[in-house]
Amino acid sequence: MDFLLEVLVGGLLSGVMYSLVAIGFVLIYKTSGVLNFAQGAQLLFAALTFVSLVEREVPFVAALAITLGAMVVIGLAIERFVLRPLVNQPPITLFMATLGLSYVIEGASQLLWGAQVHGLDLGIDDAPIEAAGIFISQFDLFAAGIAGAMVLALVLFFRKTRTGLAFRAVADDQVAALSVGIRLPRVWVAVWIAAGVVALVSGLLWGARLGVQFSLSLVVLKALPVLVLGGFDSVAGAIVGGLLIGAAEKLAEVYIGPLFGGGIEGWFAYVAALAFLLVRPSGLFGQKLVERV
């Protein structure tokens, strides 16, 4: 029983890491209808930039500030050079554009900082601590705390600030938002910057976990089933979906995986999300955008 609980808690905590990446997607999808495949590349860029600066003896806080600045510049550039010229194109075209974008960012970050693996130490001990008879990774707890804080900040931002209000208006109805004088390009810049910040936070956490290297950009593939499950446009869905996928994946890995000789984590999350969607096509919290056929 303890073992089951331990697996479950471990899964839930790794699910938090998935949620972190998924939130970046949700922010952009909600306000501009773009499925941003470049989220993984942004995450890689942020982590790589930060770790390279720290290795060059730049103080922690300064490195963080510089990386943040870089993410802001990237957000501005994306809006100006990719989104604005492609306005009113079908979603699939925009998706393709973000694929192109992810090539550009991946290539640029490796050209800039090299392709070797960097270790990233955030100064958090990864030793497991014992609580109520089960072992929990301290780092995972820390990550969960950060994720919680970030979600709280996002919720406050959406509810309490004017920009957040504009975000919600645009997400609700772009034309109506335009007609009350909200400047769409500005909102898009802001939302891409926000996604950049999310990419930075999740990049640092994932980087500390896996090492900062190219494969970091592949964590998007972990976030996609979470999005399908939770709904592309729901922050709450990203959280709950992440927890569900994380827990289901770990349980399956331990209890079902051995039947197939292991290695099922590559596809299990997708199949689980699919099975769920066959029952509930709009996901957990997604708006009823997925029409019934």
């Binding site: 699939i92 075209t93 192109g100 090539y103 550009v104 991946e106 066959l278 997925v290 056929v293």
Partner: protein, 343 residues
């Protein structure tokens, strides 16, 4: 999806005139190219071009015509390749073409299964769901070595390309073999798009509610689109494995390959058979030009890693630039140019 209208016959010209360029191209491809081309042209350019074009045609039926986005094309290519390989290996005396067809049928069956979510999902939800096929198939082919006849890393080697006692194993032979298969299947796909079925694909894409009120069974059309598309993509995968690479492992059919096929369709133009060929030509030739150019301009001053990353940036940038400049694809560009010349 954009609402694309059905192509209209060109006014003022007889019907055969519109087909003339295609007939000419085929005549050149069969009658001239085999005699003037060299080994490099066949092995490195034309054969992969043909296989990718066919995959593009297959995906275009599903995505361009029926409006269902798939990110799992490489998985269906892999199914086609590995199924053909196993049919030919395990059934004594099975003709090569029958093996290819059976591989296609297997891919169609797998496509049907992974197309089931399309009955309840749309848009990006469906697109992401097709990734399940991508990861599952690649995992299964690597995990169970039965598929590769006991090879631990899943590598398969192509059977000899012999049809009716004629060997197609030379460079020219592989080219001609691919050309015949691609030409036949493309013709079939083109006929399909002009048939009632093709029109029902378009109807479902443009307005599914309207389609169903016309008496089109949306569910059947979607599943049919998945099956037909996967069949063609599967045969393309078998060509890719047997005629181009000769030895292939499941990792060769990874997510990047799926994206590549989708790029071909988008760059070439959605809902355009011609577009699949234009897009594939672009995707095959462009990196060759780029690496030549890079070598000529920069020489050997940079190592291959730098070159690779630079290439990535240029390719990504060009894709974006292309989508901005010509969102309807190369096919629309060609159509505009030829129309201007005719008038």
């Amino acid at each position: 999806m954009t609402d694309l209208t059905l192509s209209q016959p060109r006014q003022g010209l007889p019907a055969w005139a519109g087909r003339l360029p295609v007939a000419l191209l085929l005549a050149v491809a069969f009658g001239v190219v085999p005699f003037v081309g060299d080994q490099y042209l066949f092995d490195a350019i034309l054969v992969p071009f043909l296989a990718l074009s066919l995959a593009g045609v297959g995906l275009n039926l599903l995505t361009g015509y029926a409006g269902q986005v798939s990110l799992g094309s490489a998985a269906f290519m892999a199914v086609g390749a590995f199924a053909s390989y196993n049919f030919i290996l395990r059934i004594e005396g099975l003709p090569l073409l029958a093996g290819l067809a059976l591989g296609g049928v297997t891919a169609a069956a797998v496509g049907l299964v992974f197309g089931l979510p399309s009955l309840r999902l749309k848009g990006f939800y469906l697109a992401v769901s097709t990734l399940a096929a991508q990861f599952f198939v690649q995992w299964a082919l690597t995990k169970f070595d039965w598929f590769s006849n006991g090879n631990a890393s899943g590598v398969i080697t192509a059977p000899p390309l012999t049809v009716l006692g004629i060997s197609f194993d030379s460079s020219v032979g592989r080219y001609l073999f691919s050309l015949i298969v691609v030409a036949l299947l493309t013709l079939a796909a083109w006929r399909l798009t002009r048939s009632e079925i093709g029109r029902s694909f378009i109807a479902v894409r443009d307005r599914d509610v309207a389609a169903s009120s016309l008496g089109i069974s949306v569910l059947r059309v979607k599943l049919l689109a998945f099956a037909v598309s996967s069949f063609i993509v599967g045969v393309a995968g078998a060509l890719w494995a047997f005629a181009y690479l000769r030895t292939v492992e499941p990792a060769g059919f990874d997510l990047d390959r799926s994206f590549q096929i989708l790029f071909i369709v988008i760059i070439g133009g959605l809902a355009s058979i011609r577009g699949a060929f234009l897009g594939a030509g672009f995707i095959v030739i462009f990196p060759l030009i780029l690496s030549r150019l890079g070598q000529a301009l920069l020489g050997d001053t940079f190592d291959s890693g730098v070159l690779e990353n630079a290439q990535k940036i240029v390719v990504g940038g060009l894709i974006i630039a292309f989508l901005i400049a010509e969102p309807a694809g190369l096919s629309a560009l060609v159509a505009r140019l030829t129309r201007r010349n005719l008038n």
